[in-house]
């Protein structure tokens, strides 16, 4: 797995190699490390995501208006682009669409990020324990996996929000509840093969504790696959959050999210198309970018999953 990532080994080679005309023409180690990432998918996905992150972090400075400031005198203004004060127009109560989109990036990305991190931590921990220890622990964890997996994905979230009520905490809980399963499955399978490898057996034989083996020997070898899964999980979480907000089950209505903006827009679709077009476009572009980046990550990090060309 390590050879496919050309940073460490090849960087050392280049540093030691004598400077000859041939070597001078060779691309720098940095460029060679970078090259596998210079694909259409990675560059496009990466730049869209970077722009979104900038929007999310700098929202208060970038947004032209307060996202919740209503102005009924300026309601449902069509997009004015550079010819007026409201670049993408306003919604049914006169809130600036662009400002809400920028703040929406913040909410969407942070909810999805929280979901990915929490479910990743849970899934990796349970997966590595399940795969490493095996036996009864493994059986029990796999039974839980099987049960949680028996729910249709969005339904479990809808059920939780329907019974427990809306709110940020419940939303994250609802989305996390199933999202840890893919991590757990992949990590378990990898841990099962890794624990038979010489370096683990060697560590055991010199008396390393289980905890030390899990943290220092297994985890670093699992992190790449987990990263790939995490990327796709992020895309799925953004769609799921938007879908739930769209159904009115997500975060409270005063918080601007892309999903709830779309729900607002749907009611006015025949008169104000921009209220539906732009929030949906934002969701679509974000998910597309993350999926592309995930694909590039998988091609570069995970040789087993790499698609043949």
């Amino acid at each position: 797995m390590q050879q496919l990532i050309p940073e460490s080994g090849s960087a050392a080679d280049a540093a030691v190699a004598p400077v000859s005309p041939a070597a001078a023409r060779r691309p720098s180690p940095f460029m060679r490390a970078l090259r596998p990432w210079l694909t259409f998918k990675a560059v496009l996905g990466g730049s869209i995501l970077f722009a979104l992150l900038v929007c999310a972090i700098l929202a208060p400075w970038l947004a032209p208006y307060d996202p919740n400031k209503q102005n009924l005198m300026a309601a449902m203004i069509p997009p004015q682009y550079f010819s007026g004060p409201h670049f993408l127009g306003t919604d049914h109560v006169g809130r600036d669409l662009l400002a809400r989109l920028i703040y929406g990036a913040r909410i969407s990305l942070s909810i999805a990020g929280a979901v990915v991190v929490i479910s990743g931590a849970v899934g990796i921990a349970l997966g590595v324990i399940s795969g490493y220890f095996g036996g009864r622990v493994d059986f029990l964890i796999q039974k839980v996996v099987e049960m949680v997996w028996a729910f249709p994905p969005l339904l479990i979230a809808i059920a939780i929000l329907a019974f427990l009520g809306q709110g940020l905490g419940n939303l994250i809980l609802a989305l996390t509840l199933q999202r840890w399963i893919p991590y757990c499955r992949v990590v378990r399978a990898e841990a099962m093969t890794l624990k038979e490898r010489e370096f683990v057996v060697a560590a055991r034989s010199i008396g390393a504790s289980h905890l030390r083996i899990l943290l220092r020997h297994l985890l670093p070898n699992l992190i790449q696959s987990a990263l790939v899964i995490g990327t796709f999980a992020m895309a799925a979480a953004i769609i799921a959050e938007a879908a739930l907000s769209f159904l009115g089950l997500g975060v409270p209505p005063q918080i601007p999210t892309w999903g709830s903006m779309l729900a607002d827009g749907r009611a006015y679709v025949s008169t104000s198309w921009w209220m539906s077009l732009f929030p949906g476009l934002a969701i679509f572009a974000t998910v597309l970018a993350i999926n592309m980046l995930g694909d590039a990550l998988r091609d570069n990090l995970d040789p087993k999953m790499k698609r043949r060309r």
């Binding site: 249709p152 969005l154 427990l164 769209f246 679709v269």
Partner: protein
């Protein structure tokens, strides 16, 4: 084969049991006492106590769970608060609409996704491959609720080609046989009703199929590429078989396992997606019923629907496993 199947069916029993427990716990932790929701405010303390006894709410939790389990197994989900009808009857009325939509969408996804994936894999890195790969990316990333709104805006609103919601112009046919409008109208040789049903089905089915079609295209392509590089394909080519026979008969046979997996896995996503699509297109299925139930805090209805959805998902997974075993002797003999 039968042995394998029986083992799988028996294996789902504990899963269904755990799910019922989970739903029951959710129901227990829902805010507010069910008795408060059902009893008018002016009721006296004795009335409330009486009602609680009648509904078994004064029993220990374990007894309540046992009753819940017994009635769920006998498909008795109680009466809906909102409609004042048995939950099962409400669900059965609307279930065919959801199933019809989901099945048509699945067929559509298979018909679009798989051939595209095969054509793309047979000419890797051609313009066709690149275009359909990009299309596949678009498909898997498309938020279906947004696509639904945009299609309504353009196709129904701007061009006025197709209806924007509902299931038929005249309501349900006079005497439904199966509840599937397409099938009913064919059985009754009522071609106007058939055309009408198709017109209402087109947009929701397209929207619902798009995620699955994209994924199928991508997965078909990658697994075909993998299979096509194997030795037996080289042998087949060396024998002088035409490329068509190699791709469609030799390679596809091994790639179909993956296709079954994806269709099975994605069917769950499709069912969840149908809840949203039904909401946007006012499709009178159980998804819309679920959302109405949630708005009205109609707990018996929600509980019944969650159990029905989950059971449907489990049954689909069983069918998938069965198809697996039929397609791959290694599974039915080894596993």
């Amino acid at each position: 084969m039968l042995n394998y199947f029986l083992r799988r069916v028996v294996g789902t029993v504990p899963v269904i049991f755990m799910i019922s427990l989970f739903v029951f716990l959710l129901l227990q932790s829902a805010p507010g006492d069910p008795a408060d929701l059902l009893i008018p405010d002016q009721a006296s303390a004795e009335d409330i106590a009486d009602a609680r006894r009648r509904w078994g709410l004064d029993q220990p939790v374990l007894v309540q769970y046992w009753r819940f389990l017994v009635s769920a197994v006998s498909l008795d989900f109680g009466r809906s608060f909102k409609y004042d009808e048995p939950v099962l009857a409400l669900i059965m009325q609307r279930f065919p609409a959801t199933l019809e939509l989901a099945m048509i969408a699945t067929i559509l996804a298979i018909v679009i996704g798989i051939p595209l994936g095969i054509f793309a894999s047979s000419r890797p890195n051609s313009w066709f491959d690149n275009a359909s790969s990009l299309g596949g990316f678009f498909g898997v990333s498309m938020p279906n609720f947004w696509m639904a709104i945009m299609l309504i805006l353009i196709v129904s609103g701007y061009f006025n080609l197709l209806p924007s919601g509902g299931r038929s112009t005249f309501g349900v046919a006079e005497d439904p046989i199966t509840g599937f409008l397409l099938l009913d109208s064919i059985l009754q040789r009522d071609w106007t009703a058939f055309a009408d049903a198709v017109k209402y089905l087109v947009l929701p089915a397209i929207v619902l199929s798009v995620n699955m079609a994209g994924l199928l295209m991508r997965m078909t392509r990658s697994s075909m590429l993998e299979v096509l590089s194997e030795d037996y394909i080289m042998t087949a080519r060396a024998k002088g078989l035409s490329e068509r026979v190699v791709v469609w008969r030799h390679a596809l046979k091994n790639a179909r396992i993956m296709v079954i997996t994806v269709v099975g896995l994605e069917f769950g996503a499709l069912i969840s997606g149908s809840i949203i699509v039904e909401a946007v297109f006012s499709w009178p299925g159980i998804g819309q019923l679920l959302l109405q139930g949630i708005t009205a805090r109609d707990y018996p209805l929600i509980t019944g629907l969650v159990l029905v959805y989950t059971t449907l998902f489990i049954i689909v997974n069983l069918i998938v496993d069965f198809l697996y075993a039929a397609a791959d002797p290694r599974i039915r003999l080894g596993g």
